[in-house]
Symmetry: C2
DNA sequence: GGGTATTTGTCCGTATGTATT
DNA sequence: AAATACATACGGACAAATACC
């Protein structure tokens, strides 16, 4: 009872949305109509809408109206290798998902289309994260390859792979070319330099996007939608880090799976809507 | 130039915060002082503060003031097993982190203290997620054990493990007792029923907390801080799901690591502040 | 405990700007 | 160009939470 009016209005609208009375994509009544309906001022109605906006339930479009958000069909990526993959020519080579054709196959299996831009290549001096993860001194030259990935035409991930410049000097010239390496850089480095990726470590965090990232992913500027930042450090057969890949994925459209030990196949994707009964009380 | 006044005020304050002129925990000037300082109305100043609030840079406390947020020292959990763990008596038994003593050891190694509540046990009929993951018919009885976990006194995770009731009927009576199973339920089920956990699948999503979850974790009600929801389905030696554990972790204080293949040890934790140079342009 | 000053929270009304149709 | 709808900005009033005496 003690809850303020704008919260009560928000709650009322929320129930309409979650009951389905207002379906995704549908336009709400205008602020002036809601003002009359609830007998409140327009500012109070706007406070209610702002609350629903930060909850991610509605979005406002200037000049158009307020709309119930359409939930994006999430895409599920597996961070561990596919156990049933054909053994490589070199059996020690360990390919992660998205490294080679696996990723495309996973997308196709879900009847969705993937697309990625040509890499944007940059040579810079290692600093901070890159230096520490690649275990090189600060200032050591590294090659960074940026790529944007799309699924069904919507922006899905931003990827930056960094390699020690030394690999290029040893013959991996294609790393500095701004073109896709079709067989995958992991295989390329294996054939070119006999550098075998025998393992990797993924470091998973969530943070707010900066302005440019929010623009690219088409998420709000104010940080309501977070980004997974997954840092993959890959190691060669000598235990030396050969690559750092940092990939950003919006949390509103991405999920991940980690398989450990012996796990059965999954063809069916469990309902991701299910909230489960998890009270904190 | 075209940016609205409240954004300019917010930007000015943001620079002061990020430059260190306003240090974490410090109180900002009051809304009335800021109003005079910027020559704006109090409501416009409040819009600026609200913007910074959703960005997670400041927090307001009624009756006290507005403060620069203190960042929480994140805790890092590893989702894959420790490769150097002593082999089990039964070598097929595969323990994940947090299952047994590993979790406590990981906390202690970081010089932090862990604590967890006695489990709250509940018997309910499987539905939705639980039924599909445990591969039982809807309505089948299951045992759910809820636990709250704390690190350094602050709430860290909410865990709900669900087991088919059949396991209890077959002799695993301690599952329905509201007390901790010190050796871990994985070992208990192995010794008690010869049920060996040979693998598990983790499903990682991020979602907004509900009201009770936000209260427990002491995060804002409006969903600015998301929760990792990690669903672990564990399989026995016959490939049958024996357990579903759903754990909730606030994204503002938790990070995860996944090790695949051969990876070297890490004693040093890389700087988590490092933003890296990842432009979306 | 009570009272008071301070500070943020809620709510109102109004005017004007900007984006879209 | 006009109409519509949300965005920004102002000013005022009172409520609620907190701190301090």
């Amino acid at each position: 009872m003690a809850s303020p009016m704008y919260r009560q209005i928000a709650e009322n609208l929320r129930e309409q949305i979650e009951s389905g009375a207002l379906h995704p994509g549908q336009q709400l009544r205008t602020e002036l109509e809601l003002r009359d309906h609830y007998g409140a001022s327009r500012n109070t109605v706007r406070d209610a809408i702002k609350w629903l906006t930060t909850l991610g339930l509605v979005e406002t479009r200037p000049g158009q109206g307020t709309f119930v958000v359409r939930k994006i069909d999430p895409f599920v990526s597996t961070l561990t290798p596919d156990p049933k993959r054909e053994p490589e020519e070199d059996s020690r080579l360990l390919l992660g998902p998205g490294e080679g054709e696996t990723y495309r196959a996973e997308v196709a299996r879900r009847l969705r289309t993937s697309d990625k831009t040509e890499p944007q290549v940059e040579i810079l001096k290692a600093s901070g994260l890159i230096a520490s993860q690649l275990q090189v001194a600060e200032g050591t030259p590294v090659v960074s390859r940026h790529q944007k990935r799309y699924i069904d035409g919507t922006p899905w991930s931003l990827e930056t792979s960094s390699y020690p410049m030394e690999l290029v000097n040893r013959g991996a010239r294609r790393l500095i070319l701004a073109e896709n390496i079709e067989e995958g850089t992991v295989r390329y480095l294996a054939t070119c330099l006999d550098l075998q990726q025998v393992g990797y470590r993924d470091w998973i965090t969530v943070r707010a996007p900066d302005g440019a990232e929010a623009t690219f992913f088409n998420v709000p500027q104010d940080g309501r939608v977070g980004l997974y930042e997954i840092r993959r450090t890959a190691f060669d057969q000598n235990g030396i880090p050969m690559r750092l890949t940092v990939t950003l994925y919006p949390t509103d459209r991405n999920q991940f799976i980690v398989n450990v030990g012996e796990v059965p196949e999954t063809d069916s994707v469990p309902a991701s809507d299910e909230q489960g009964a998890l009270a904190a009380g």
